[in-house]
């Protein structure tokens, strides 16, 4: 483990009596022993994201005695997180996640050092943040950050323990190992925005990140101990509904722009631009899409205007709440565009305003002009117009 040897040599650490008792189940295993536990104590691991994946990850790394844990998350706890982010309690709703996670993990194991970074990971801070850590664990939830984490790890020579989930499927592997592949070997480019939904749009079985995050914790611990076969060059695929694990080979791509023989990327880039996203709050705004707020829509309807409403969500979302619109799920729109009348002014909506923006882009290419995006989707309608509407 060349990556961790330097750290091991520099630091002299011991276990206290309390720690020996705490880690006794590790110490009696030949694969860990005192030597392994000291490696864990010297190790410095940075977890990016303290949510679905970050929760079990943080808990198991803290429990195992990883001596220096960094937790990066800019967000606050929301009640919809509690379906899967098991480090948080109901009382934590509204608190910064990195702080709430730090409190929980400290209570579990006061013997380790935990640093919380309530900050968004960006090209400006990633290298400085990563530099002090041995291993980075990617528990993020969006493509720009996945690429950012990968690139920063490769530039600094740090392993990246990767895990990702979607609905009931998960992936896990270890990128950034010497002679191993990186994320860009597998995916040189991100998908266009809107093609692969986020958990907010696609949903996720709560316990799934519990399993994948635990796998990430396991891989991190194996790397620190130098034990077993880590998932370097192996993509673990998990289908929770079928309860099947499969494995695919991941090869280092010699043409990889990041880690190949003729690397072309030598510094961090603008990842939002790379992924085709121009602004998280309102991607529509800079793309010439006209918007209507929920308040304005209600006012126009109250005045007796008959506005055609197109709902591009999925049928199960329509059942939760709806604005009585015509439902054509985004994926079906190209095939069913003939059901729409381009001479009529149309308000297009989804849950939060993202999918509807994509729908409008498509409709514009199909020649539609009288289009309005409902800013903030049904969530905004629930906030501004009808508080009885359930939010999901």
């Amino acid at each position: 483990m060349a990556i961790l040897d330097d750290t091991m040599q520099k630091q002299e650490v011991k276990l206290s009596r309390e720690e020996i008792q705490r880690y006794s189940r590790h110490l009696i295993m030949p694969e860990v022993g005192m030597e392994g536990q000291l490696k864990l104590k010297r190790a410095r691991v940075l977890t990016i994201g303290t949510g679905g994946l970050g929760a079990p990850l943080g808990l198991y790394l803290a429990a195992a005695g990883v001596g220096h844990l960094g937790l990066v998350d800019f967000d606050v706890v929301d009640s919809s997180n509690l379906q899967r982010q098991v480090t948080f309690t109901t009382a934590d709703v509204g608190k910064p996640k990195s702080e709430a996670a730090k409190a929980r993990l400290s209570a579990l194991n006061p013997a380790i050092e935990i640093v919380s970074y309530e900050t968004r990971l960006t090209s400006d801070n990633a290298l400085d943040l990563f530099r002090d850590y041995d291993i980075i664990v990617d528990g993020t939830d969006n493509f720009p950050t996945r690429f950012l984490v990968n690139d920063a790890c490769i530039l600094l020579g740090k392993p990246n323990v990767y895990g990702s989930i979607f609905r009931f499927e998960g992936q896990a592997t270890v990128f950034g190992y010497p002679d191993g592949p990186c994320y860009r070997c597998l995916y040189p480019e991100p998908p266009p925005p809107g093609l692969v939904p986020s958990c907010a749009e696609g949903g996720v079985l709560g316990v799934l990140p519990g399993i994948v995050g635990s796998i990430q914790a396991m891989e991190t611990i194996k790397l620190i101990l130098g034990a077993g076969d880590p998932l370097v060059g192996r993509l673990l695929l998990f289908d929770a509904l079928a309860m099947r694990f499969r494995e695919l080979k991941l090869k280092k791509n010699p043409d990889c722009p990041m880690c190949g023989t003729h690397r072309t990327i030598t510094k961090l880039i603008d990842y939002e631009e790379f992924c085709g996203i121009r602004g998280e709050e309102a991607p529509a705004m800079t793309d010439g899409i006209a918007e209507i707020t929920a308040t304005e829509l209600k006012a126009r309807q109250d005045r007796g205007e008959k506005l055609f409403i197109l709902d591009v969500r999925e049928p199960h979302e329509f059942q939760i709440c709806n604005l009585n619109g015509k439902l054509i799920p985004l994926g079906e729109l190209p095939r069913r565009v003939n059901e729409l009348d381009s001479s009529v002014e149309m308000v297009v909506h989804c849950r939060s305003g993202k999918r509807s923006a994509d729908a409008i882009h498509f409709l514009q290419t199909a020649g539609f002009k009288k289009l309005l995006n409902l800013k903030g989707g049904v969530l905004a309608w629930a906030d501004e117009v009808d508080p009885r509407m359930p939010k999901y």
Binding site: G49, T50, G51, G52, L53, G54, D73, D75, D78, S80, N81, Q85, D138, G139, T140, D141, N142, F143, R146, G163, S164, I165, F166, R167, E169, Q171, L186, Y187, P188, E189, P190, P191, L195, V196, P197, S198, C199, A200, G202, V204, P209, L235, L237, D239, A242, R246, E247, L248, K249, L250, K251, N253, E280, P329, G331, E332, P334, R335, S352, K354
Partner: protein, 96 residues
């Protein structure tokens, strides 16, 4: 050659929710062509306009990435499994 194509979750909406499709094909390219022939909505998600597999989708024959075999010309045998593996990013929480 009778092969099975595994459909990842994000693309099952285009295959009538089926998680795997059986077809007959001599190469990986033929299998994918047969798949997108039957499920035309799938085509633009898997292929660019000039017919190349999109770069955020990886295709495997059994456990090997076809980019390191003969790409779409990789020959298949009876009982082979072709896996379509798109990049997924879900992890921490909603990110709107």
């Amino acid at each position: 050659m009778a092969v099975k194509v595994m459909i990842p979750t994000p693309l099952r909406q285009f295959t009538g929710k089926q998680s795997s499709i059986e077809c007959n094909a001599a190469t990986v390219g033929e299998a994918l062509g047969s798949l997108t022939g039957t499920f035309s909505d799938l085509k633009k998600h898997l292929f660019t306009e000039d017919g190349k597999i999109r770069s955020f989708v990886n295709v495997y024959l059994n456990d090997e990435d076809i980019r390191f075999l003969s790409k779409e010309n990789t020959p298949t045998k009876d009982g082979d499994t072709i896996s379509i593996v798109p990049s997924i990013a879900g992890g921490s929480e909603e990110h709107n």
